[in-house]
Assembly symmetry: C2
Homo-oligomer: 885 residues x 2
């Protein structure tokens, strides 16, 4: 495929040849949409295509309906009578599509496609069209209006073939496909239920090299300037992406771009914090003390019986590594990242507003709000119901609360079950660590013993990572499945619910192990002489003596990096490749069984090539990946300041990887219009708020920041950190070991009376021996006070940032005002027969006004093609000085 595609890209629009097939058999009507089905006629699985388009007039046919009517033309198959029920359904569906005004043509090798009639006028105009590069004066902005058939004379229609952009034509056809009902044969509605029933195999628009912008092929430009690792330092060509893929995908890449861009300062500061740690590690008193062999702290053994006492100075390197991530600068960085999150969200709001304006989406609002109410109300339900077995659309109307109850119950219990599964997985890994550690510690080999901790930790994290990856895939499927049981009222509700559930499950899955290490590990281990045991024999695990923070760091680093690398390489590159190889292999096998066809096989058409590509599976997985990454970047940034750097490196590649996927590896997605990124924004905002709390707790409870501060200002006699290590270690009298738990073989003095352990407890000689000491409570109070301080400070600063950054840039505000004034002036002074509608309707384009009331679909034509024609006003945006009259 990779070999073929570049060839196709180089083709001029409408030129015949291999990879052609962008037009109907007559070579002039453009193909807007392809429907594929399997035909059992010749006992083999042949694929068949339906290519449909609409809305260019053949005035001779439906001249009664106005200037732009829908032309219908069937270059049908008709070779055999429709026998099977699926064929019947297909026949009815296609007949109704034609009634809606679409033209359908079956492919020569049992394909159907629909295309566009280029009128004589267009034919004459067409050769000149590319020769005239469009004026791209940056001062020019074309005002656009919702298209209306009745007001045709107001629009500046240069060519009826280019009146609507390719993306919009695809969308129109998709809408018609979605709404066309089969009432006689199967009582369902829309292509999606037909796909679910297997009447059609797939439905997609074609990749189109004939879309040009300023004389250059858009697809080729996207290929060169966007889906190319060489271009990874450049901005993305947003307008081209939107032109080719529609607003929804455009917004995704715009969001990804903004996120990646803002990761740059965060990464820079993260690296600076890390470097600060590297530079000051030698002047840091606590780690110096831990490395100082003269201080001679004899620590209590790490496991019962088989483990020996040990010198604190032996973990010097861990202590030093820990300091790299756990120093004063980290606290400042955590506050900075809270602000960063607020700035990111505000900045995205502004960018979104700008895009809405330049993509003409501002007016969409009202209809979008209204749409879920009834617009797609019936559709959504029907789609879901029919996907579940094709009940009549009427049956779903009467769903009462009690009908939904079982669905809700299954939902809640499934989610609880999944939560349970996640926690079991985490607990399983903990048990693995505890047991393997205990077992391996019994190994008499000293060499092996030294590496026990490293081995156990590494293997456990890798198991964790694998569990996370596997459960991630399962949870995605479960979220969609249980939401369908809920029978949500509208399509957008359905999507939101799936996303929310999938996010809940997947984020829990990804973050639970990190949460465990950060906040729970080692806190229930007990103390020497009174350890906590699981399964009677195994001691609860403790953090490594260097502190829990370094373990959080390792856990986070491996899960985040591993997830990214594996998801990018395996799920996004390797698996599609394998799938394709398998398909090609199967095809060849079929092909050899189907030998007689081989001779008649012609040059592959565009739709053959596109059918070979992977189907488009929505943006949710892409968003989900990035949102989980955003969680890793913000939630635990206090323990791992390098997270933004890794995210940045990943995203620079991710953008181009996704781009290449969209341009060359999947079938062209339907160009869906969208005004915002929707529920994802709320999720991001929720993560940012939660991140303030987790970071407060990480700094207070996981890092050593607070104990150090408390020591320095409350207990240290010199006001310095000297003596801190001694202060954090409690005393244990070795006589108090429970029988059989003392080390039975030791390199240390057998008469050793006192060993040390890391805790704030009263010494054995105190009246309240081994009780939590006053220091413990004062440090705890300081920790909690810091949480309150940090949380409120970060929240206040975030609110301040949100308040200081206006949602709309001042320049855009002024431009909107000027545009509105201009438009009003135009309408007022010249009294054109023009009405300004908040929303138009797709219906007008296809069936006239009566269609419009029931299907309130927002419709805007692209600004470039449909514009107000008016002397002195069309196109040129007036400067304020021009308006002062």
């Amino acid at each position: 495929y990779d070999r073929k595609h570049p060839t196709a890209l180089n083709h001029q629009p409408n030129s015949p040849g291999p990879g052609g097939g962008l037009c109907f058999a007559d070579g002039c009507r453009r193909v807007d949409y392809v429907l594929v089905y399997h035909c059992k006629r010749r006992q083999s699985q042949h694929r068949h295509s339906v290519v449909s388009n609409g809305n260019v007039p053949t005035p001779s046919r439906r001249s009664t309906k106005g200037d732009i009517s829908e032309a219908v033309l069937e270059a049908g198959l008709g070779m055999e009578p429709p026998n099977e029920p699926q064929d019947k359904i297909r026949e009815e569906f296609e007949r109704r599509l034609q009634e809606e005004g679409l033209e359908i043509e079956h492919d020569k090798e049992v394909c159907i496609y629909v295309c566009m009639v280029i009128t004589f006028w267009t034919k004459i105009n067409q050769p000149f069209q590319p020769g005239v590069p469009e004026p791209q004066d940056p001062r020019t902005r074309v005002l656009s209006q919702p298209f209306s058939r009745d007001k045709l004379h107001l629009f500046d229609i240069k060519s009826k073939n280019s009146l609507f952009s390719n993306a919009i034509r695809g969308r129109i056809v998709y809408e018609i496909l979605r709404r066309t009902a089969c009432t006689q044969t199967c009582q369902t509605m829309g292509i999606s239920s037909l796909l679910a029933k297997g009447v059609y195999d797939s439905a997609f628009p074609l990749h189109d090299v004939s879309i040009v912008m300023n004389d250059i092929c858009v697809l080729q430009m996207l290929h060169e300037e966007w889906a190319n690792y060489g271009a990874c330092y450049k901005y993305q060509p947003m307008d081209l992406i939107r032109k080719y893929f529609g607003e929804k995908i455009g917004l995704y890449f715009a969001w990804l771009g903004v996120y990646t861009q803002l990761l740059i300062p965060a990464s820079a500061l993260g690296v600076a914090v890390f470097l600060y740690g590297c530079l000051t590690v030698d002047t840091n008193v606590p780690s110096q003390e831990m490395c100082d062999e003269h201080l001679n702290f004899t620590m209590c053994p790490l496991c019962d019986r088989v483990c020996d006492y040990w010198q604190l100075s032996s973990i010097c390197s861990t202590a030093r590594a820990s300091y790299l991530f756990d120093n004063h600068a980290t606290v400042g960085f955590a506050i900075f990242m809270s602000l960063w999150a607020a700035v990111f969200l505000e900045h995205w709001k502004r960018r979104q507003r700008c895009l809405q304006h330049s993509w003409d989406l501002t007016g969409m609002e009202d209809d979008e709000v209204r749409k879920p109410d009834t617009g797609t109300d019936d559709k959504g339900r029907e789609k879901l119901l029919s996907a579940k077995g094709g009940q009549s659309p009427l049956a779903s109307e009467s769903l009462s609360w009690t009908d939904r109850l079982p669905g809700y119950c299954i939902n809640i219990s499934s989610i609880l079950l999944m939560v349970g599964v996640t926690f079991s997985a985490v607990s399983g890994v903990i048990l693995y660590r505890i047991i393997v550690f205990a077992v391996m510690s019994m190994n008499p080999d000293h060499e092996a013993k030294a590496n026990v901790r490293v081995t156990v930790t590494t293997t456990a994290v890798i198991i964790n990572l694998l569990v996370v990856l596997v459960l991630d895939e399962i949870y995605g499927a479960i979220a969609a499945w249980i939401t369908e049981l809920e029978i949500p009222k509208t399509e957008s509700t359905f999507e939101e619910h799936v996303i929310l559930k999938a996010f809940l499950l997947k984020s829990m899955n990804s973050f639970a192990p990190v949460f465990y290490v950060a906040f729970f590990k080692g806190r229930f281990a007990g103390r020497p002489g009174d350890y906590v045991y699981v399964f009677k024999d195994f001691r609860m695990e403790e953090c490594s003596p260097g502190g829990c923070l370094i373990e959080v760091c390792i856990q986070l680093g491996i899960i985040m990096l591993g997830k990214q690398l594996i998801q990018n390489n395996v799920f996004e590159i390797a698996i599609p490749k394998l799938k394709k190889m398998y398909r090609t292999y199967k095809e060849e096998k079929d092909g050899s069984a189907d030998e007689e066809d081989k001779d008649s096989k012609r040059e592959p058409q565009r739709w053959d090539l596109d059918y070979d590509l992977e189907p488009y599976e929505g943006l949710s997985p892409e968003y989900m990946e990035m949102v989980i990454q955003y969680g890793f970047v913000t939630l635990f940034v206090a323990s791992f300041p390098l997270a933004p750097v890794f995210a940045l490196l990943n995203n620079v590649i991710e953008i181009r990887l996704d781009a290449a996927k969209f341009v060359t590896e999947i079938r062209r997605p339907d160009a869906v219009s969208a005004k915002e990124i929707g529920i994802w924004y709320n999720i991001l905002s929720g993560i940012s708020k939660f991140a303030v709390i987790t970071n407060a707790f990480v700094i207070s409870f996981t890092s050593e920041f607070i104990p150090r501060m408390v020591y320095q200002y409350l207990y240290s006699e010199t006001g310095t950190m000297h003596g801190y290590t001694n202060h954090t270690l409690a005393y244990f009298n070795t006589r108090n070991f429970k029988p059989g738990t003392a080390p039975h073989d030791t390199d240390f003095d057998r008469q050793l009376r006192i060993c040390r352990y890391k805790d704030y407890r009263d010494p054995p000689w105190s009246p309240e021996s081994y009780q939590l000491s006053k220091q413990y409570w004062s440090v705890l109070a300081a920790r909690l006070a810091f949480v309150i301080f940090f949380q409120n400070l970060a929240m206040f600063l975030s609110m301040l940032v949100a308040w200081l950054i206006p949602d709309m840039p001042r320049s855009l505000k002024e431009q909107l005002k000027r545009e509105k004034a201009l438009l009003m002036d135009l309408m007022l002074t010249e009294e054109i027969n023009f009405w300004w509608l908040g929303g138009g309707s797709l219906g007008w384009l296809t069936r006239g006004t009566s269609f419009a009331q029931n299907h309130q679909l927002y419709w805007r034509t692209e600004c470039r093609q449909v514009q107000l024609v008016h002397s002195g006003y069309s196109g040129i945006f007036m400067e304020p000085s021009d308006m002062a009259r």
Copy 2:
């Protein structure tokens, strides 16, 4: 005055007689606005009125301008040449007003007024008009459109006199007054600067008994059904209020209504919590223990030398009273109130949406957003500049950042100064308490000594209250003054800044004393043997032995109630009365000096009566009072659960008091249009968020809730509260008193070794004697943990509430959709020459289109009078079934 007004109310529209004067001298043109100035002609201060109106045509005069042109008619004074500069300015201003299309007539006794020409057609129609009660079918809703002169034929204009409602006519005139510039004589613009210069004395529209709704006089209905204590259990007649006073005032009363309504459940629960306290006080172990004389706790003296040891059981009553406000139920109530605040804010949003819809404000949005940018840009600045001394409007255009810097500096330093003043006031009262307490304690009289604390506390709180009241008035003035120095860009910015500053200062002023008592009092008093002294001799004050909470309760109760009572009675009733009495007195004095006029004095006209009323001073003071009250209700509700009850009682009266003020005691305000309550909503939301934090701290640190919990679950051996009192009292060895501080005369055993004090400190016999004990730190940790828990729980629940309650009621959503569909249908199928504009412009009403571009003012006529005329569509709202075609 009160005697006269009801008479005026009973008059039929346009009937002559005393209290008349709603029309011009010809008895038919309606008076829309009155301008008053002082004339020095006869050496006495006479008042003169200008009554201006607009927009009813005398086609003979300006017939070239279209159907509705502005008629100008001067029935001027012209008795003497304008000599003084003020007269010249006035003359130019009025000439320009006439050029704008207003009619002006001077009153017979040197008044000018402007009124409305009722055409012949109107005259015939008018007597029938009130005979036809308007259809008020609840199913009917009239769709309204912005008015346009060019599309006159589209509107259903029954009478040109009633085309625009009285409120809108006043607004139109006000807009013209505001914009008319005097360029020749004084280089200023608008009536506000002329008022500031003293060219005019005042400008206001008239109270109008001729406004009717369903045949009943609106003013009279408001008087009977709204501004009446007898109606205080009823809903407010919102539509009438809005009709008479405009949307802005309507929204204020709607908000006050919603707030009062929602106070009912809060009050009920508050009373329940209080009653729970009353009922369980006898079973409460800690207060039983404190009252138990057998336990015999001898407490350390409360002051040096002169005070004696005392028995804890002597403060039994305080302990019991304290429990009434400090029990388990209070904690639940505090959480409930956080939710209540969230519900209130969400509920108000919904109510506001509904009002926006029924008052036709939904479309205003865009213009409101835009308006601050340039619309009133110049105006705002000019108004401010001219108010400050009348520089040329052009001079203000070039204000750069450096020009504003001094203003900002003065702002910041003033605010800091005021903050300093507030803290000084609070500190002053503290010092007063400390010193007076010390002095009075020296009184050898035992009777007097017993009452020392009560006397000191009461007088101190009253002083506090007086300081708060005085500073409140001063701060209001200062906020306005320093904001003028800032020269804000637009009028709305100006208003917002004034409100924010005034709120900052006033709330600090009101809450600072309560904050001090709740969080600081007694925390810096030291301990026996090591007290903290101020001025060397005076011990820092401690809370009463019953705990700080009861003191917070008293402080809060007195300040809140006192502020409400004094503000309602003194500021809103007594002072206006006094002012009026003074004015009447002065008038009479003037009148007697001006004897020759007395004979020619005719029956007082409507404008004479209205001029005698207090001028309208904006809604800010009303909102401010309520917002500060909201602060009292939410911020410290954990310490005073009865706050909502008192607020409720106050508000039920407040609504009627304000209503009476608006209806009978002040001049009629300009009917300003407003879509939302604006910055006040943000302030309320900020208070609600802050309240979560204060309540968390009040429960943790001020109440005894946490120490009790810690004792019960951590230290109590029986798991009950028995022994709690002993646990909270530290031991003090009387030998450790500093020399000269021990009681020199005691009723107790002279050999008493140990006295007790309320603190968590180690006993004298411990190695760390008098150090903070382990209990102290564990209780502190528990307190802080509770703050974190409470804050996050309340925030989460509030977010949940905000998420669960949609901003728009479902029914409204559906209705909006149906209306839009109907309108679109109307326009589509019938192809009327109608355009739908996002915003219209006042300019069209007065000078045609060229005026419109520079002054983008949103303009909507009232729905009742201006409506679409269309067969089958006008008025009747179609049910969904009608639309299914």
